[in-house]
């Protein structure tokens, strides 16, 4: 056959591939526009369609039991002078630190201007007293699977917070409440949700996602292949 009509199918395929490539290049800018338009954090649209901006909810286990603030316990131990269990009210009684910053996920989504409040980790460490020989701080989640670690130096930053509040209210169960970590200078996987335990340890052990390939030092823009 000499002529069978125009190859529209091929054009559609090539056009889509071209549009896809353009989308990858300009998508970051378009998405931030979409976020501004429809996605003030917690809005109904972004709760239904993550593409409309806002947080995405990641959990590594099948289900996490709900814990009310009244029943909450945070166990702090390991290489410390005074191991201790903190109730929710105990955390609220400690000096409070507030900060507002962007939340960056290593997979590429970002939520702007999230307000956090709670106890700065160095303040909590001062309460229990760090013993010589401690090199790192290990976080465990009461989801039963998730772990994370920071070096002691990283853990003493003022922008590392044991958060009891986010977005102007309590930390919801979905966001890892009633108490979660917020490690401002690092990607979200360092900010352990459903925080159950903090232990001072003599070496930094890779956490849940880190044994699955992510960098242990997760500085935003300077890890996991990011250079900007």
């Amino acid at each position: 056959m000499t002529s069978e009509g125009s190859p529209v199918g091929r054009r559609v395929v090539l056009g889509m591939v071209g549009l896809g490539a353009v989308g990858v290049v300009v998508g970051a800018r378009v998405q931030s526009g979409v976020n501004r338009a429809v996605g003030p954090v917690g809005s109904r649209v972004s709760g239904l369609i993550p593409a409309a901006g806002g947080f995405r909810f990641y959990s590594v286990v099948d289900s996490v039991k709900r814990v009310e603030p009244a029943d909450y316990r945070l166990t702090v131990g390991g290489l410390v002078d005074r191991p201790r269990t903190f109730r929710f009210a105990d955390l609220q009684a400690l000096p409070q630190t507030r900060m507002t910053d962007d939340f960056h996920c290593v997979t590429g989504w970002t939520v702007s201007d999230v307000a956090w409040a709670g106890v700065a980790l160095p303040d909590l460490l001062n309460v229990v007293g760090v013993r010589p020989g401690a090199k790192g701080v290990r976080f465990t989640s009461f989801d039963g699977a998730y772990t994370e670690t920071l070096t002691l130096e990283q853990a003493r930053r003022r922008d590392v917070i044991v958060a009891t509040s986010m977005l102007g209210g309590p930390v919801s169960h979905e966001h890892g409440g009633p108490v979660r970590m917020y490690v401002a200078p690092m990607y979200g996987y360092k900010s352990t949700k459903w925080l159950g335990g903090i232990d001072l340890v003599d070496r930094v052990k890779p956490g849940y996602w880190e044994v699955r390939g992510y960098d242990v030092d997760a500085w935003i823009g300077r890890s996991n292949g990011y250079t900007s």
Partner: protein, 237 residues
């Protein structure tokens, strides 16, 4: 009459299963309510990635089949009649049980759907590769890949529902895809030019062994293209 060979149907079914696995795991990874209740993120992520990278495999294997390549060629080409069908408001109209548009083996909607699926698989494969192996890519491209992967997922879901709607509202179409054959009446109603082509080629084979050009023999309208008709019109007159 035979509509799709076993090889073509296998490519369709394997692609369909992989796409369904991708959509189901995507929902678990992506819809907040499901992410919370189902969890197990690492497991579903691995299933999603394996099924996603597997999506183009059935079509590549299908290339070994002549029937599959022939169907691809038909899906690729748009005849002027296809544009008329797309524009027409009378796409499903029939006269005497026969569709009024000279639709070949595939109508223009099926051609566009196939092209969309092929393009979508390639784009999802590209952006999915960036998301699966993010290390070599700058920040901006990862966010861009997330953007494209997310929104194209919604488009694929809508087109997938449309595909199901058109396939299932018509009792003859699933038979073609699941059993391989359709009735002559169904072909006359939905793909008259294809029916003519099949019967024409069958007839011309038998005719050539006996005699040809017998008086009163109806013209042999093969193909659904305008060119095909033009070729035939001198003989017809």
């Amino acid at each position: 009459m035979i509509r799709f060979t076993r090889a073509v149907r296998s490519v369709h079914h394997m692609t369909a299963v992989l796409l369904l696995v991708c959509l189901a795991t995507a929902a678990v990874l992506y819809v907040p309510a499901l992410s919370e209740t189902v969890g197990r993120r690492h497991l579903f992520r691995m299933i999603h990635i394996v099924a996603g990278f597997g999506l183009p495999v059935p079509a590549l294997l299908g290339w070994a089949s002549r029937a599959f390549r022939d169907d691809l060629r038909r899906l690729n080409r748009f005849s002027p009649a296809d544009w008329g069908w797309l524009r027409g408001r009378d796409r499903r109209a029939t006269v005497g049980g026969r569709g009024i548009h000279p639709v070949g083996k595939f109508n223009a909607g099926q051609k566009l759907n196939a092209a969309f699926v092929a393009g979508a698989i390639l784009v999802m494969l590209g952006t999915g590769t960036i998301l699966t192996f993010p290390h070599p890519w700058p920040d901006m491209y990862r966010t861009g890949a997330t953007f494209v992967h997310d929104w194209l997922t919604l488009a694929i879901f809508v087109v997938f529902l449309g595909h199901l709607w058109y396939a299932l509202r018509d009792s003859g179409a699933p038979s073609g895809m699941f059993l391989g054959h359709v009735t002559r009446e169904w072909a006359a109603r939905h793909h008259p030019a294809w029916l003519d082509e099949m019967e024409g080629s069958a007839r011309s084979r038998t005719v050539s062994t006996r005699n040809f050009g017998a008086p009163g023999e109806p013209a042999d309208p093969s193909g659904n293209t305008e060119e095909g008709k033009d070729d035939l019109s001198p003989r017809r007159s």
